[in-house]
Symmetry: C2
Subunit: 393 residues, 2 copies
């Protein structure tokens, strides 16, 4: 007598979490330093010092009734103004607080967009490899999900497959650049071509096709510029989270940006906010709305990620792995040395090397290596990656 979908979600075992639990058990047997866990995408560097200072200062000096009280549903007006000003400074835009809807992290931002846009029969398109929860959130919103197969040479977009997939039922596409798990950043050329295609099809079908851009890794890049999507396409909604940039994933603060270029943007904004209300999202956590807004644009010290990335890319290539260098994120997504990524991951696991098969991301033949770990773990793991490669020779 319980509904099938949430019950299945609640009882399903998570492959990533099982791997993580296994790692902890193994650590108790062989020592933590001999288990090379690359399974979990949890930021490993502390938040920037300014974050703790800001939180302390607010707790000491602000009226606690206001500080911990309800904010209006769209979020504290000052916080939204600060965030809009930061976006305007960085991207030459002209957003105001009325374009921002503060959310309980990016997951909530996505759910508010999906529930706020989906009408019966609507389809959304995902690009493999993709973060698996997108499909969970979309199904929860009653949308049909179509997946575009991966383009594994550069992890840009397979446009032939995309052109075939878009129909009059397409309500939107979910972009994630920098991408979890591939680390790819969509180039300006990719985005121009995508925007052209969507404008054509929107005109052909007589309704807007929305781009929902999930950008929690926007600031975690290694020299690459991340093109600002709304510059390319009018009907783009941006979902953001401070989880990765400020290393506060547990605090759950993010936003939906509905730019004024979006067709009927005030109605779209209202529908996103109405979805938030319907789903029980009263307001984003009040203290951390203020903290994140005052630290917006700052990042944790990302130099550890940069060093880890360099070590892994160079090391794995030297052992014969095929690696597309990640332009951003803290993930590496190399090809596996046999077609069956799950078999490869199991063989790695026998060496206490914990990596996640790409199958769950819609991209078999690859594994995800989360390099948000202490650099020492990478150094100690490299000979094990070499041993694994040799076992295939």
């Amino acid at each position: 007598m319980l509904p099938e979908y949430p019950l299945n979600l609640g009882t399903a075992r998570s492959a990533i979490r099982e791997l993580f639990e296994y790692g902890k058990q193994r650590a108790a047997v062989v020592g933590a330093e001999n288990v090379f866990d690359f399974s979990i995408g949890n930021p490993s560097v502390p938040p920037p010092a300014v974050l703790n200072e800001t939180a302390q200062e607010l707790l000491l000096h602000e009226d606690p009734v206001a500080l911990h009280g309800y904010t209006v549903a769209p979020g504290d007006a000052d916080a939204r103004s600060l965030i809009a000003a930061d976006l305007n400074r960085r991207f030459g835009t002209d957003y105001g607080p009325q374009n921002l809807y503060m959310t309980v992290g990016a997951a909530a931002a996505l759910c508010c967009c999906f529930h706020g846009l989906t009408c019966p029969g609507d389809e959304f398109i995902l690009f493999a490899p993709y973060f698996p929860e997108y499909a969970v959130f979309l199904q929860g919103a009653g949308a049909k999900v179509k997946v575009i197969p991966p383009e594994i040479e550069s992890f840009q977009i397979d446009f032939d497959a995309l052109e075939a997939a878009i129909t009059e039922h397409t309500k939107g596409l979910v972009l994630n650049s920098p991408n979890n798990p591939s680390g790819a950043v969509y180039s300006a050329e990719t985005l121009r071509r995508l925007a052209d295609l969507l404008r054509d099809r929107s005109a052909q079908y007589g309704h807007p096709i929305y781009l929902i851009s999930d950008e929690p890794y926007r600031e975690i890049v290694y020299g690459a510029a991340v093109p600002w999507l709304p510059d390319f396409y009018d009907n783009a909604l941006v979902c953001y989270s401070y989880s990765k940039s400020l290393s506060i994933p547990g605090e759950r603060v993010g936003y939906v940006l509905v730019p004024p270029t979006v067709e009927d943007w005030e109605l779209v904004y209202a529908s996103v906010a109405g979805a938030g209300r319907m789903l029980g999202y009263v307001n984003a956590p009040s203290l951390f709305q203020r903290v994140a807004a005052r630290c917006t644009g700052e990042t944790a010290d990302l130099s550890v990620y940069a060093e880890n990335r360099r070590l892994l890319v160079d090391g794995l290539r030297s052992f014969g792995y095929h690696v597309v260098e990640p332009a951003g994120t803290f993930y590496l997504f190399p090809r596996t040395l046999e077609p069956d990524a799950q078999a490869f991951a199991r063989r790695a696991q026998e060496l206490d090397l914990l990596v996640v098969a790409g199958d769950g991301f819609g991209c078999p033949g690859h594994v995800r290596i989360s390099f948000c770990v202490p650099t020492e773990r990478i150094r100690r793991a490299l000979p094990v990656f070499e041993k694994l490669a040799q076992s295939y020779k």
Copy 2:
């Protein structure tokens, strides 16, 4: 091309918020001290000192990567253990962390229960007067809503109406005691009778009927004991929020308790948690999970509410209003002096007395007075309540 329900929710004007905005505009004209705003249920007393101290201490001494990192989806295990221990101490129960699912406030707790329980065709029963968002959340979960008319002599339960309303499609009932807006606390006698009825009907229909108990006001009582619902009925789920007891409504921390007496409690828990996942509730805010758990059972200084309640009850009665004395909450729900509560509220508004008509709570003929305000406002407002009463003589 936008879905009707969230769009309507997002564009609908909130009567309470409009009143609140009106109050701010009037204050600019006639002075804040001459506007008597009793519209908003926002705690007016600061959190207990221990809350700020606990937050400061965690920020100073805990590893920030762990403190601000993801917790497991059910919530930090230590936090859940502390909360379970507090419940066990107070209610003589034997709960463990596995019975608690930490949520982003009570609204999220309710949404997780509703989405985690509702199958197609299921009905939920609300008791008027009721917090209007219950109906919003239930409709969002696809449940049909039935409302039991109010029993306005004591705001207990109209059992004749309830017996007629329960059918084989009844999946659950939502209880809210102490009640917003009536302030009533259900007596042990009411709960015994309710439990007997539900056990009979569950047996008759061959499936459990769940009680979903929304208890954010559990600690905000004036001498009354709030009976512990799971002592009366096995299939009861408890939703809680720290918003009111700790005066932190903006921080969004609460929980769902699934007691081990619930039939197949582990599956029910899984379905509630699966619903949380589906709706994008990754984890409850991590810092405030720890803060709330360490302060669980504490309350803000509620003496202001007690004084406000005494002044209002005695004052209004002396002016001829019919008032059921609220056993808990910071709301008073007197009868209006004409049958049309909205007309009464408008006449009050002409005197700069802002109260909310009961119609939106499913209980016409009454107004809600939120007395979570400075006592001085009550003292100054009493002569205006008297003037309003005289205008009806």
